[in-house]
Amino acid sequence: MTEPVKTRILVADDDRDILDLVVFKLTQAGYEVVGVADGSAALAAIEADPPRLAILDVMMPGLSGIDVLRKVRANEATKDLDVILLTARSRDSDVDAGFATGASDYVIKPFSPRELLHRVNALLARGNG
């Protein structure tokens, strides 16, 4: 009997602790998770094989999460990808900028891993509905 195909999620964060934590949390929840440590690797992974959802840290070396999001939205093959921005930037203007760039959701650090999982589940359920 073949196993059901798991929903694939990409996580990009240059903070090793957060990357490991989010990958672990989502893996435990039954997702297939790919973790990368910078924006360029995130963009390459998304373009090579688009996941169902991407969680991007905003402040990463090289390409920021916002840069990656902009390129994702500009690409016909990936423009509908669900993207959650995960960031320490909590000012209203930062949140507005994130949504204006096309983020599907915005999670502020420090964050509750449980809440992040709920948001992932909700976005994916909305996409399936």
Binding site: D17, I18, D20, K25, P110, F111
Partner: protein, 366 residues
């Protein structure tokens, strides 16, 4: 000995010195890398447990059991990783990490270290107590707001904000004052700390708004607005009308825009008068938009033609934010038969509102 020989020996000495310096650096780097690798290898078995605890995926308590039982030497190596995780998560995982630190005696050690002779240790102790949000620590951290070291005072204020103990609010306000040669806390640090303490700081704000120190009054006014402390609106009105400091009056105006009501329109409108400073006029025009009262319409329309283009633009933006009636008045101004500054400000605001999606279809063509 000839000059040539002396130079040769000098060259040799310099060469040897350089070579030995390079060797020392290389050995130190190698030793550090090796030490780091050894430390990582030692911690590897605990990394998984730490991530399980920090992600809230330890329902059966296995990770907790492992981490709570580590030996003292292992804990010494593990502690920085635990402390590094704490500011990154919130909720139950943060509580669990705090409990882990407590079980290894870190909280008690930090409390003792608050009176260390080393400023770095005092700051680290306050930082840790703030991270674990231990309410019993607030009274111990509070005296550090008067610490001779500026960095310690900053860390203490942030720690008190993180702990969120409202009884510390008056101490934070007091620390804003520059006294005995000590520069007071930066306003934004104090404001952030106060905002983290919640609604119970209202009595401290009321006292602060009547302080003799303008820095204290200013921060209290800012916090009153950001934290929507409506109970202090009467004092904000007094500050707007009478305070000797322009900054305080402007902060009071901003706060009234957030917590005031229709009764504040007249006062805010009066302070858009040309006799006031540009800063206060602009602030009040924005605050009228924040209030969102239709009684502000005439004042704001009157400002569209002001010689201060920035003020006119802010008035136009406030009209948009008031809603359909404000937008209608802007459209009237934009359609004026003789285009002038008013029409330009109105058109600019309508264009921006259209870009932001604040206009309906009928308003988009203005």
């Amino acid at each position: 000995m000839s000059v040539g020989q002396v130079l040769l020996i000098a060259d040799a000495v310099i060469g040897l010195s350089c070579a030995s310096s390079v060797a020392v650096i290389a050995i130190a780097k190698f030793g550090r890398d090796r030490g780091g690798a050894r430390s990582s290898a030692l911690l590897a078995p605990y990394r998984h447990a730490l991530i399980a605890m920090a992600s809230g995926e330890d329902e059966e308590g296995q990770a907790r059991g492992v981490l709570f039982a580590v030996s003292a030497p292992t804990w010494d190596r593990l502690r920085p990783s635990v402390v590094a995780f704490l500011p990154k998560v919130r909720g139950a995982p943060a509580d669990d990490l705090g409990e882990l630190l407590r079980s290894h005696g870190e909280i008690e050690a930090a409390k003792r270290m608050l009176i260390s002779r080393s400023a770095v240790r005092r700051a680290r102790a306050a930082y840790l107590l703030g991270l674990v949000r231990d309410p019993d620590s607030a009274a111990l951290v509070l005296p550090l707001l008067g610490d001779p070291d500026e960095d310690v005072r900053l860390v203490a204020a942030r720690a008190l904000g993180a702990i969120g103990e409202p009884s510390a609010a008056r101490g934070v306000l007091h620390a804003l004052r520059t006294q005995h040669g000590q520069i007071g806390l930066p306003a934004w640090v104090a404001a952030e700390a106060l905002l983290s303490m919640g609604v119970q700081i209202a009595p401290a704000l009321q006292i602060g708004l009547a302080s003799e120190d303008p820095a204290v009054r200013n921060v209290c006014a800012v916090v009153a607005g950001l934290g929507t402390f409506a109970s202090v609106a009467p004092q904000l009105r007094i500050l707007l009308a009478t305070d000797s400091e322009g900054d305080v009056r402007a902060s009071a105006a901003v706060a009234l825009g957030r917590v005031g009501g229709a009764e504040d329109v007249v006062a805010l409108a009066r302070h858009t008068d040309a006799s006031e400073t540009a800063v206060l006029r602009r602030t009040c025009a924005t605050a009228l938009g924040d209030l969102g009262q239709r009684e502000s319409l005439d004042t704001l329309v009157g400002l569209l033609g002001d010689g201060d283009c920035r003020l006119a633009a802010l008035a136009a933006d406030s009209l948009v934010r008031i809603g359909s009636e404000g937008i209608a008045r802007l459209q009237e101004a934009a359609a004026a038969t003789r285009p002038g500054p008013s029409a330009r400000a109105a058109l600019g605001a309508l264009d921006l509102a259209g870009l932001r999606g604040q206009l309906g279809v009928s308003g988009g063509g203005a």
